[in-house]
Each structure stands twice: as C-alpha cells, then as structure tokens.
Symmetry: C2
Subunit: 354 residues, 2 copies
Amino acid sequence: MAVTIRAVARSAEVSTSTVSRAFTSPELLSPATRQRVLEVAKRLGYAPNHAARSLVTGRTGNIGVIVPDLTNPFFTGFVKGVQAQAHKAEFSVFLGDSEENPRVEIDLARAMARQVDGVILCSSRMTSAELKEAVGKTNVVLVNRRVSGVPAVVMDWVGGMRQAIDHLAALGHRRVAYLNGPRNSWSNQERRRGLRRSVRYGMAVVEFGPFVPQFEAGVQAADLALAERLTAIAAYNDLMALGVLSRLAHRRVAVPDEVSVVGFDDIAMASMYNPSLTTVAVPQGQAGREAVDLLVNLFGDQTEDVTRELGTQLIVRGSTGTLTGQRRHIATTTPDPPTAGPTQHSDSDSGPPG
Amino acid sequence: MAVTIRAVARSAEVSTSTVSRAFTSPELLSPATRQRVLEVAKRLGYAPNHAARSLVTGRTGNIGVIVPDLTNPFFTGFVKGVQAQAHKAEFSVFLGDSEENPRVEIDLARAMARQVDGVILCSSRMTSAELKEAVGKTNVVLVNRRVSGVPAVVMDWVGGMRQAIDHLAALGHRRVAYLNGPRNSWSNQERRRGLRRSVRYGMAVVEFGPFVPQFEAGVQAADLALAERLTAIAAYNDLMALGVLSRLAHRRVAVPDEVSVVGFDDIAMASMYNPSLTTVAVPQGQAGREAVDLLVNLFGDQTEDVTRELGTQLIVRGSTGTLTGQRRHIATTTPDPPTAGPTQHSDSDSGPPG
DNA sequence: GTGAAAGCGCTAACAT
DNA sequence: ATGTTAGCGCTTTCAC
C-alpha cells in the first residue's frame, strides 16, 4: 500500500481530519499546523487516493472523450485540445476510440460513465436514443452533433461548404462530385445541406458514397468521379481528398488545371503535405478546448450558452506546379442534362438564378 | 446517487455480498439466485461503482499512456494501438500529452500514478531519475526508451538507419545530412548510433539540430542542408521529412534526381501524402498493443521477457514524377574534405573500407 | 482550530 | 450457497 493519510497524521501528531483539511481546505487550519502537515506529507511521499476521495465526494476529477478514429487528424487535433484544457483545469482524461463502430462507442461510454464527471462525445455515431441510454445521468457535451437539450460544440459546415462551392464556381467548375462520409455522420448531413444550398444555376452535383472517411476511399472515388467526367471533387474530409489527389497524380490528371479538389476538416497539416489540396479548415484544437469548458461549466450548473458554433475557413494554397488562377469560363446558362451515375442534384432545388 | 448494490440486494431479497458475487464470481452462486440478482440489477440500472471497488481491491482497471505529442502521427498510431488492446483486455485508458515537456510529463505521470494499475511511457523525455521518482511504485512499461530493469518495447532504429543509409548509398549519395530530433530523445540517439555504424568509406555526414520534430523544422533544415551542398537528407521523422520535401519543391529542387529524402517513423500515411518520401516504417499500432500486453503481464507478476524489439522496414515508393532509379555513380574512393557547418563525421569512425 | 466519528459503495474473509 | 462483518482511505458533519 502507498502512504496513507493516517500515516501522515500519526507522524505529524494530528488527526486525519487535519491532514485532509491541509489539502482540501487549507484556510481552515492555522498556518503553523498546515505547514507542518504539508511538510510531513511531502517527506513521506503522501498523495491522496483518488478512489477513496471520489467515493465520498462523488466527484472523480476525470473526464472522458470518445472519438470515432484517433488516426484521423481531425480527431487527433481535437483530442489534443481536450487533453490540454483538461490538464489546465486539473482533470485527467480517459480516451476512447470507437473505430467508427456504434457498438464499441456505447461500450466505451458505459465504461467511462462510472468513473468520470463528464464525457465528451465527438462525432458520435450513436442514435439519440442509444446516446441517452449509454451515458445515463452523466454530464455530456456533444461535438459535431446536435441533440436537443444537450450542450454542444458544432462547426459551421454549411458555411464551409458554401465557401468551397463558391470557390469551385469561381474557378469555372460546373460539374462537381461530392464524396460522402460515414453513413451516420451528422456532419456529413450538414455538408450535404450546405451543398444543396450552395449549388447554383448551371451547376450539377453528383454524389458518391457513403465511404469510410479514409485515404483509400478517396483513391477509389477519384476513378468514379473521373468516369462521370466531373471536374471538381469535394470530399467529406482531407484524408479522402488526399486519396483523390494521389489517384489523380497516378492517372496524370493535372490539378487544378483539369480537376480541382476540396477537402474538409483540415489537418492543419494536410494542405502542407500536399499544396494541391484546397481545404475547409476548422479549429479542432479550439473545439476540444471549448468542449472542456462547456463540460466544466456543467459541473457548476451553469446552463446558459449550451451550444457554441465555430467558424470554418477555406484555405487555398495553390499547387507547386502550374496553378495560374482561373482557367475556366463560368457557365451561367443552362444546367447540364442528367448524368448516369449515383445521386445527382442540379440547381433545380435551389431556386431560379439570381 | 446512482443505484447502489444495497438497493439491488433489498429488491432481490438477498445480501449485498450475493449481489457482489453475482458480478465478480458468479460461479459461487446457484444459477437461480444469480439469474434473479442479475435481472433485478439490470431492471434497476445498477452498475458497480469503480471507485468503491478499487478502494477495496486495490486494482483500478485503468492504465495510462503518455506521449510527447499526440499530433505526431507516430504517437497517434501508437495510442490507437494501446487503446484498442486495452479495451480488449477490459481496461480503460488515461491519455496524457506532455507537449514534449518533461515538466508536464512528470505532472501527468504523477496524476495518473494514483488511479491506474500501470503506465505506458512512450518516448519519455524524462531522465531516468525523474522517471523513477514520478511513477513511484506504479507498474511501468517504456516504449522507445531503455532503462535497466524496466520492461520496454523498442524499435530497431539502428537497423532502420542502416537500411536508409544503404539505400542512399545505392542511389549514389556521398554527402548526407542528418536532421536531429529532440534533445532528450533516446530514439534520436539510436538513430545517430545507426548512422555512425552505417556510414561507409567515401561518405560524409553532416548533422543539424536538434530540432522540434515537426514539419516547420524540416522546412528550415532543408535550406541548411542545401547550403552545405548535401544531396541526401535523412530526417529524424516523417513530419520533418515532409517539411523538407515541401521546401525542396518550393525551391524547385527535383526529388529524388537532385536530392533524396528519407524520414523515420512512418505515419503509414506519410508516404501516401507524398510519394517522394522514402521512409523507415515501424509498426506503431503493434508497439501499442505489445506495450499493453507487457503491462498486463506485469499485473500477473510475470517477469520474463521484459523487453521486446520491433523491426523496421524501409519503404521506397518513388515519386509520381521523374524517378528513374539510380542516377549517380557510387563513390568508393576518397572521402570528401571536411565541410564548413554543423557536426560532421565521415567514415573515419567506421573503420577501413571493406 | 482541531478531533471524533460516521459513513461513501463495495469486496473478502469468516461464519453458517 | 448465502449472510455477517469488517474495513479499503478519505471527507465531513458535529462537537469541543
């Protein structure tokens, strides 16, 4: 056994309560005793036992964070933000990686629920019902997901998508592919919503997927998009976009002269890795920190301001190669005829031309 | 308060011990009662209180993992492996990101030590003394670091470096840069060791750094290496290598025709991101899983097999551009004269030519 | 300002 | 096969 509070008490010739107070409410002690107790504690190498403490206080000093795939740089940055802010607030953090699997996610949430003061669920793939059931009475903050009554941090994907589409339109693209992300992804729905809102007269969008949002899916999807003779590809995230670029390079398709590619999430690194990638950047780290703040506020029963929206920003770097700016002529006349292939929607659902 | 064991006991008309046994040692109960208890527990939504349990058992069911920078894909993959294996073994995992800062690392280790059954320290930047002090009596597994008597998972960086140098030599390079990683990094020392052992007659190596092992450092270092007229650059890790490549592209230096770049660690993704990158790959995920296994064995007091070495593998993809294979003539004659610049060592410390 | 005592929810002997 | 009992290490009334 480690050094207990009793040992310190005995050695300092005080009661255990006094030792306890020296740590939890020093102001109740005379400076002299406090000093003495603290010294003895240090000499003995005493540190309070968390389990025992939380047994009586009901608080653990821990929070949990669950993400679908830590390997995805978006979540990595997010978790890093969570951990940093939690550390600042003196919380320890449990990490869970659900592997994009709702079953695993539920498992993890359950396991955590019992030993944390709150949980942050990032891009949860659970249904609302599962979600409520799994966390029980535990405090929750949702990220990239909205469920009524649950505090959340969300990104402005709709606005991000508008920036992306405007950009592609400005480059003259009229035939755009959208590569869908995971089936149960809220943020994918948001991106699609933004897409439908932003499509303009004379522009056609063909959707592919859903895909597992990884590099390989992008490789695969690039061929599909090319087969449909699309000149712009918006991918659910940067990983897929990178896959697309890789495949395009392999097939000797010039970017962005022949095809433009836009990704989401921003790795913060992705566009460095490959400057041909235009991306809708989002402050994952900040999202993580804000999520922690929200959670900590919850402990204090502050119920106001339960959802925060973070802005997104299109980042265009331009390739290292031949990028020379606008190459194409913006089509403002008639929409294209329907194309064989996956789901397609043109400007028909976005009203008449402005 | 949540549902307690007493409530279940009362409702099922048994003693609390019986309820406890239903969960921890079902074989001691008659099938009938066990069944009944479990049902009642489920109906009431009972789940055991971890804190209370570990207070009496002394075991927590948690492990901790600390890395210098979660954003570094090497550590991301590692942590993912840890989490997956831990989940399989029914452990929850605490995550700590030390931000390459020994102070923070110590803080995190201390905070965890009290509420885990063991800690995995990956690429620890602590000194051996700090390390021992911080973890106290807690079980530890080291990764990418050797301290006598402490179980560890290590990578064969020496072998990896040999592969890298052999490769560069085969491509005809005679003037090689090595970009050092963090100052207190054990694995950087290992890489240097491998470097010294592998340098051959007629080859000169110039070292730069230490650097913070990130993309930006690579950008910066590329210029330094170019100024020294070096034709091959081996970077401490892939992130830096990517930075180098980015800078080379910016300066219109052809890779690998003019300069070859080798990175370490492998992101598993890095060479996808940029096929010009040749990398020494390492199974991070496996390392994570093995570390967990080692730790779990420790709980069972199995002291054999305390250190495992994982192999590394050079991966050459070839650029998407003009790579055509060996371009240069291997120099086997005289070493170059010393060059102005940072630390330099030629074949002089590797014995006579074979 | 400090001590005594009563648990927090659970498990593990020790009975029976 | 089940119940009784005694804590695990700590915090927190309640006295003094």
